[in-house]
Amino acid sequence: MPNKANILVVDDEPQIAEMISASLQLYNYAVSIAYDGEQGVKRVGEEKFDLVIMDIQMPGMDGITALGEMKKLDPEVEVIIATGHGTMGTAIQSMRKGAFDYIHKPFEIKELFKVVERALEKRKFNDITRAIFSTVKPEEQLRVIIDSVTRILKADESLLALPDREGKLQVAVSEGLEDRESRASRLALCARLMENPDGAAAKAVQLVEAPARDKKFSGIGGLDQLKFSLFLPLMDNGKLSGLININRLNEEAYFTEDDLQRARIFGSLVNLALRNSSLYRQLQETQGQLIQAEKMSALGQLAGGLAHEINNPLSGILGLTQLVMENTEKGSQNYTDLQDIEKAVFRCKKIIVSLLSFSRQEKTRIEPVNVNEALEETLTLCARQMELKRVKINRQLSPGLPMVNADFQQLMQVFLNLFTNARDAMPEGGELTVATSLLKDPAGRELLAVSVADTGAGIDPEILGRIFDPFFTTKPVGKGTGLGLSVCLGIISRHNGAITAHSVPGGGSTFTITVPV
């Protein structure tokens, strides 16, 4: 262990200050002394201390005032208040000001050590807490977690096992496990423990001595080295989702009751931190969607007004063009030109219809909807087109799903847009997979999920972030309005749902919609 901690002793009685200092130095602590409150505060401002042991009754600035000043300068510093004239009142006052604890003079040095050790332990946990809460990036956070646990539990090796996307348990990070075989054997150990969760015990810290000899782990090789194994549960929504495994290889290095206590505290900190970062990521995602929905709504209002103003003159252009056509010789250049004008008007009309459906401001007509039914109806609508484009439709609709409150027509419009996009993504044919399932969000609410997957070219990662933007299209001029996915996003947002896209270039795209049940 490196030099333990940096401690400041503040006492106006030099003998006492020096006595405390000398005792602490015997235990390898770095100790400084200040002889009054002002000087103490000054030292805290100049230097990083882990702990201050301070007398309460001092000439000039008293201990309680100094404590307040010190906490202002360094909120993390722990302060133990020592008092010879201690009434309960001043002690409580000092605790309120943020003291870690108080100790009555005269005290035995043993007594002081106990308090010092506890304060430093809290400091250590504060540092760890700060570290594991300092990032919400999963890789960084897991690395910090495994480094911290290895340090505070003096582990020879440690690993953190979490399920991957497919639900298979994997080593997320490890420490002191260089070769693949040992990682695999430890992972098997964790997997075995997770397969047989012994009820409530699965949610608690578990200690196993010499796992190679434990029949629970029979059949797993490569465990002979392990003398003491500790398992910290990782929870997700009240369910065991992963484990931290900490191992000591030395026969004498058993885990003490203090170690177990540390492991429990650490375990709950880790679970809090993981939950915190998962919530943070969700918040960011939701915020992103909200901002997008706001943008849509503002643009929708503008577009709606614009569309209305354009329809009158457009109607005039169409009608007059057709009137002139009636007096023009069919097959003449003029006639062909007029036909082109007519077609252009129909193109405008199509754009405007999309704009209007996008800017729809009135209440959606909400009723209990069977989502599978809406999908089936939409699929029936496009069956012929899909057949023509040699697109095979795979239905993976879960039976017996609950109804959702939704606007049937609007849901059909969303599905139709997604199916059309999928078809266009597969000009050479392919497979369209439509699946429904029931999920739970992290808050435990039920969500109905619809996924629409194609086997087309996929979406370039560079544009994946823009596909829900209005007027963004990859289709040739005149073929797409760039509003389809914006409309989908608008509709799904109005249903309090979410729509996301996943794509691997060359590996097709999957759009997933979730709506609350």
Binding site: H308, N312, S315, G316, I317, G319, L323, R360, Q361, Q409
Partner: protein, 119 residues
């Protein structure tokens, strides 16, 4: 005798082509550019009214409602530049005989009116 239609729209451009499209099929057209004028002309006797929904003086919905009250059997066709939702009635509380969404072509208005008046 030629069938008579009252055409109500504040937009000259629209009245222009609708009038000509119908006149060339033998319809007798009377035009009104706002709701008040339309209601004042109603006594002249028409087989059908073609009415825009968004006009400056009076909302088209109001005009349509008044015409329906005054002439319960009148064939009423609504023409409008914006329909946000086809599942709700085009003019809430009033039954209309047909509607067209702008931009609409000359054959669409001809066919609709001919169907309504000859039925």
């Amino acid at each position: 005798m030629a069938k008579r239609v009252l055409l109500v729209d504040d937009e000259d451009l629209v009245r222009n082509y609708v009038r000509r499209a119908l006149a060339s099929r033998g319809w007798d057209i009377t035009e009104a550019s706002d709701g008040a004028a339309a209601l004042a002309l109603l006594d002249r006797g028409f087989d059908a009214v073609v009415c825009d929904l968004k006009m400056p003086d009076m909302r088209g919905e109001e005009v349509v409602k008044r015409i329906r009250e005054l002439r319960p059997a009148m064939k009423i066709v609504v023409i409008t530049g914006s329909v946000s939702n086809l599942t709700t009635p085009i003019v809430p509380g009033v039954e209309v005989d047909g509607f067209l969404i702008k931009p609409f072509g000359i054959d669409e208005i001809r066919e609709l009116l001919e169907k309504l008046v000859n039925s």
